[in-house]
């Protein structure tokens, strides 16, 4: 367990409503530090729910989730928030940038929230440089293309040098060229910086670039294989 940065045991998630949805049905999982894991599966199979539950964005209904050895159930909302601010980065399909902030301000936001005010701007600029947006610091999201916005999101995700980067359909809204560019950046970050990465995707092309792929169906992991190693 020591090398496992992410772990889940008998993880269940129900959505209450007019009809109760059993989204995750006892998922067992462990991810090692520095791994790049893709979660695939048909729509509604629970990919995003699994990512949300593992990252602490959503509460779990039953079971346990550990992040870096800490039981998520035992953490308060503020502690989970702090953990996200200090140790995690997020990339979403629809970028979700703050429209009132410029690119560099959006990127420095996690640092400021984590109280790392010193050098925040420099680090944000460096992160933007890394994703090839050195010329777009002061642009607001509305004046950036889809691919550029997603790169700002990646810069924001890496700016605090997190242990884990969570990406939910990071290329889902992009064309092939932009999509490849984004994956190049993510793979480079994984290889060079050793960030653990968990990404949800429905594209084989994207999943193939990850070191390991989890196939989900109806709330359970049906297949778990390393690329080149196939079914394990």
């Amino acid at each position: 367990m020591l090398n496992h940065i992410i772990g889940a045991k008998k993880l269940h998630k129900y959505y209450e409503g007019e009809v109760r949805v059993h989204a995750l049905r006892g998922v067992d999982l462990s991810i090692e530090k520095g791994e790049m894991v893709a979660i695939m599966g048909p729509s509604g199979c629970g990919k995003t729910t699994l990512l949300n539950c593992l990252s602490g964005l959503d509460d779990i209904s039953k079971g346990k989730v550990w992040l870096d050895g800490k039981d998520l159930n035992s953490l308060s909302d503020n502690e989970k928030t702090e953990m996200r601010a200090l140790n995690m980065g997020f990339v979403f399909q629809f970028y979700n940038l703050l429209p009132v902030l410029s690119a560099v301000e959006n990127v420095e936001l996690p640092l400021l929230l984590a109280g790392k005010n010193k050098m925040a701007r420099k680090k944000a600029e460096k992160a933007l440089d890394m994703v090839g947006l050195g010329h777009r610091y002061d642009h607001r999201p509305s004046s950036l293309s889809g691919g550029e916005r997603q790169r700002v999101t990646i810069a924001r995700a890496i700016v605090n040098e997190p242990d884990i980067i969570w990406a939910d359909e990071p290329t889902g809204d992009l064309d092939t060229k932009s999509s490849d560019k984004i994956m190049d950046i993510l793979c480079k970050l994984n290889e060079k910086n050793g960030h653990t990465m968990v990404l949800v995707t429905h594209e084989d092309r994207v999943a193939e670039r990850a070191g390991r792929t989890l196939h989900m169906e109806s709330g359970v992991i049906k297949k778990d294989h390393k690329n080149g190693d196939r079914v394990r």
Partner: protein
């Protein structure tokens, strides 16, 4: 007060500033959000400022009233600061010898700040101008020493002061009196006074202004020399009225008047027991302001509906801002923003909105105050209202508005910040609150405890609002507990129904609360609870409305699609729709209740006049100095009056008799002595009498034969002193003519408000109080006679007696007309709430266009024409508005019925629904809404499908 509020605001701003410096990025976000959508910002500020504007306008009304009162008092009192006199049971001033006055004067001269003292004779006179054949019966006569009293200012004519001088037989009259009787300088007038009951002629030396020394005691005044005055009032070598002026001038002198009055009282107590300090300028002003504050308070209370609506609008605005930024907030939370950070962003933004809107609102309140007094000028015909707004009021309105808005914003942002990150990021709706929600369960238990506490508190204080509110909270609490098993829809629908039943049940069915006191707060609370109940029922049973609309949506091409698209959205956004509907329903409710009251009054005005008149058309009062012993004979022998015009004529003795209150204070009360003719002829109904009597006739019989019994007006009627509880069986302690206690037990209440007083037999008032002459008269006239004309004829012909007619029908209609004007004004004031509703709907509509761009694009793509999109938005807004209007109207009618049932039905009044005003209000409200809805509908229809589908 202002300092405390300013201090609180300063602390808030200081905290926000320090906090903003600490969280600069959050401040930047909040600040930039303000300018993100400028139109929205303007609408938000306009919406938020309404509460402040209402508060500000009620202060404006208060300031203007205060200023009006001050101006009136200063104008009338001018240099006079303290008055010293006493009155008899007959209302005459008690005279003292001139020598005594001189002695008193020398004592008072030593009192600090006293500048001058003036001894005069004051009395009443009737005046007849033979040239114009016009008369006045109610004029004031003042005999004054023109060589003295410099400290009271000069006399004025034609805008300039002049040196006064009066020879014997010469008088000054004021401009108002001159105008009334069409008299001018040099005319000879006949004055009827106690000294000259058959009349004495005087020549007008000057027509003077009511300014300076002559201003005191209002208009319609005759001034003559002290000697002439003493002769006219049969007070040789005597005075009966002393005025004192202080060294401080007209305004500043008022500051000394309390102290001077207290010092003089000490002097009087020692050596001049017959006199007393009756009024001082400051006290009169304070008393008057106190009376006027009730009027100001009424504005504030009626404004409460609008303030509540504005608070709801504030919540709605922020909830919508929250929804608009939901996805950003979700992402912010995901990357490490805490809930407190989200609250901060909104709070920084909120401080700007609160400050901006409160500032704008405070000034808009001035405009509303102007509008109020523009309409009030028809009511206050005798006062000149100059709209006044003090800096303090402006500041206070700003402070209260700011704190109210800020509190509402903080409440709203706390709600907003509690979002689920995943749902927020993906912009999916929040699921319904779990049946097993512990938080709701605890809230329910809290509600039950609070409800029980309020109910018990009400039982000990006998305040109706406490148990009624307490039991309502208990109903809601039980519903919230029960929802765990039956779900929201069943639980809260039943809660809504129970609340409606509870608030709409007539008081007579609530035996345990009989005798509890209730005031206007019940009106406000009933509005809040019944409207909330109605909204709960509607919003939780929206599917029934959808079903019904589907059925009746017609068979036109696409009409079903348009209707369903239109109503499904508001029913999905329950909180937002419910809040907007609530605003409309609450305001319409309040206006309809007012219309219902006016409607019931209007429908029953003839009956009310008939009841109040007691079978008479004209009431007459003669001067008590000059009573009419044989009114019948007087009319019969008068060649200009025809005794055949009258059906019956009755007379009574009347006087103001000293009595002791429950607290042992002295109070003069009106006493009326009637005879058997009055008892037989009058038809005044009784609202209640003691059980031991079988009928009204028996009550009268007992009072006429037993000198220890009396009948009085119903204490619930207007005009009766409300500061003491007079009940059946209460004993009133009068002081008889010999200074002994004379106790009279109240055995019946007459249901009339036209003659105020305690009714006894003529014999009793003669024996006990020495009231011996007829000065109150009741006339019943033939059907073909015009009471107004006959009243005028009688006033002219009976001028020697100072006869004043009161035509009951006319005076009542005038009174009711003034009352209705107030109701109209209050309705108009509450109508401002419609602006809140319309603004609220405007914001919802604009937001809806923005929020549903993608949906609009999709609708256009699948075949909705531009026209159909427009209809969708208009129908959607119409659905919210019409539902709110219908709900408010139905509940308003129901509460109106309740008011009638509890208050007017026992008096035999008919129930009436004023359909025409109600329909007008509803139509105006609807079309006002369309004014805002059409532009946003138009905007929606202009959305290009291609652009919308690409919209992010």
């Amino acid at each position: 007060m202002i300092l405390i509020l300013l201090f609180i605001i300063a602390i808030i701003i200081a905290i926000v500033t320090v906090d903003a410096l600490r969280y600069r990025v959050l401040f930047r976000m909040g600040f930039r959000n303000i300018f993100r959508r400028k139109t929205n910002t303007v609408i938000v500020i306009l919406g938020l400022m309404i509460a402040t504007a209402i508060i500000s306008s009620s202060f404006g009304v208060g300031d203007t009233m205060d200023n009006m009162v001050e101006s009136e008092i200063y104008d009338e009192w001018q240099h006079t600061d303290v008055t010293i006199y006493n009155t008899t049971e007959m209302g005459d001033f008690v005279p003292i010898s001139y020598e005594t006055y001189l002695s008193l004067r020398s004592d008072i001269e030593d009192v600090d700040h006293v500048e001058d003292i003036l001894g005069e004779v004051h009395g009443r006179t009737s005046i007849y101008n033979p040239n114009s054949r016009l008369s006045r019966s109610d004029s004031i006569l003042i005999g004054t020493d023109l060589d003295e009293g410099e400290g009271f200012g000069p006399f004025y004519r034609g805008g300039k002061s002049f040196e006064p001088g009066l020879d014997q037989g010469e008088i000054f009259i004021d401009e108002r009196l001159a105008e009334d009787i069409e008299a001018e300088k040099g005319d000879r007038l006949t004055l009827f006074t106690r000294g000259f009951p058959m009349g004495q002629n005087y020549t007008i030396r000057e027509v003077i202004e009511n300014e300076g020394r002559a201003a005191f005691r209002g208009d319609r005044k005759v001034i003559m020399s002290l000697q002439d005055g003493q002769s006219a009032l049969a007070l040789p070598e005597q005075i009966n009225y002393i005025r004192v002026t202080s060294t401080g001038g007209i305004r500043e002198g008022a500051e000394y008047s309390d102290q001077i009055a207290a010092d003089i009282e000490e002097i009087l107590k020692e050596d001049y027991g017959v006199l007393e300090v009756r009024e001082n300028k400051n006290q009169v002003m304070e008393d008057f302001k106190q009376q006027m504050s009730a009027f100001t308070d009424t504005f504030f209370i009626f404004g409460a509906f609008v303030i509540i609506a504005a608070v709801i609008l504030t919540i709605n605005i922020f909830v919508m801002l929250g929804e608009e930024r939901k996805s950003e907030m979700g992402m912010s939370r995901a990357i490490g923003m805490k809930r407190s950070h989200l609250r901060r962003v909104f709070s920084y933004e909120g401080v700007f909105y609160a400050a901006g809107s409160s500032m704008v609102g405070a000034f808009v309140g001035i405009g509303i105050t102007y509008a109020i007094f523009f309409f009030l000028k028809d009511i206050f015909t005798t006062f000149e209202a100059e709209v006044t707004f003090s800096y303090e009021s402006l500041l206070l309105a700003f402070c209260i508005g700011f704190l109210l808005t800020m509190t509402t914003i903080l409440f709203s942002v706390t709600r907003i910040s509690k979002l689920n990150i995943v749902r927020a990021i993906r912009d999916i709706p929040e699921p319904p609150v779990s049946k097993k929600s512990r938080k709701l369960f605890y809230l329910a238990i809290g509600g039950l405890i609070l409800g029980a506490l309020l109910t018990f508190a009400g039982m000990s204080s006998q305040q109706l609002w406490l148990p009624v509110t307490g039991i309502s909270l208990i109903i809601i609490g039980i519903g919230t507990v029960v929802r765990r098993w039956v779900g929201d829809r069943a639980a809260y629908t039943v809660v809504g129904i129970f609340l409606l039943i509870w608030w709409l049940v007539p008081l007579e069915l609530l035996d345990p609360f009989e005798g509890y006191s209730a005031d206007i707060e019940m009106f406000i609370l009933s509005g809040l609870f019944v409207v909330t109940a109605g909204i709960m029922i509607i919003m939780l049973n929206g599917s029934m409305i959808t079903g019904a609309m589907e059925k009746f949506s017609g068979s036109g091409r696409g009409s079903k699609a348009v209707v369903l698209s239109a109503i499904s959205h508001p029913l999905k956004e329950k909180f937002r729709t419910g809040m907007t509907m609530f605003i409309f329903a609450l305001i319409i409710f309040a206006i309809i209740v007012m219309s219902m009251i006016v409607g019931v009054f209007n429908a029953n005005i003839d009956r009310m006049i008939e009841e109040q008149s007691g079978g008479y058309e004209i009431l007459g009062i003669s001067d008590q100095d000059r009573p009419i012993d044989d009114i019948y004979g007087e009319i019969e022998t008068n060649e200009n009056l025809d005794i055949n015009d009258f059906n019956k004529i009755d007379s009574a003795f009347r006087g103001m008799v000293p009595s002791l209150t429950e607290q042992g204070d002295m109070r003069r009360r009106s006493v009326i002595g009637v005879d058997s003719n009055f008892v037989d002829n009058s038809t005044f109904a009784f609202s209640d009498y003691m059980d031991e009597y079988g009928s009204q006739a028996e009550v009268w019989e007992a009072v006429m034969s037993d000198p220890s019994l009396t009948i009085t007006n119903d204490p619930g009627d207007f005009g009766m002193p409300m500061d003491e509880r007079i009940e059946l069986g209460s004993t009133i302690t009068f002081i008889d003519k010999d200074g002994r206690s004379s106790e009279k037990m109240v055995v019946g209440f007459m249901d009339q408000m036209i003659i105020d007083g305690f009714f006894m037999s003529k014999e009793t008032v003669r024996t006990d109080f020495n009231l011996t002459s007829n000065s109150l008269f009741f006339f019943s006239v033939n059907e073909d006679v015009d009471p107004d004309q006959l009243g005028r004829d009688m006033q002219r012909e009976l001028v020697p007696y100072g006869f004043q007619p009161i035509v009951i029908d006319t005076i009542f209609r005038e009174m009711m007309s003034a009352q209705f004007m107030f109701f109209d004004l209050f309705s108009g004031y509450m109508g401002l709430g419609l602006i809140v509703g319309i603004a609220g709907l405007g914001i919802v509509s604009l937001r809806a266009v923005h929020e549903r761009r993608l949906e609009i694009g999709m609708m256009r793509a699948i075949g909705f024409k531009r026209r159909m999109i427009k209809y969708v938005f208009i129908i959607e807004n119409s659905f919210v508005t019409i539902t709110g209007i219908i709900l408010g109207t139905l509940l308003g009618i129901a509460v109106g019925w309740l008011l009638w049932y509890d208050g007017f039905k026992p008096m035999g009044w008919e129930f009436h629904i004023p359909w025409w005003p109600i329909i007008s209000i509803c139509v105006i409200a609807y079309f006002a809404m369309l004014f805002t809805a059409i532009p946003s509908a138009h905007k929606a229809s202009k959305v290009s499908p291609a652009e919308a589908l690409r919209f992010d």
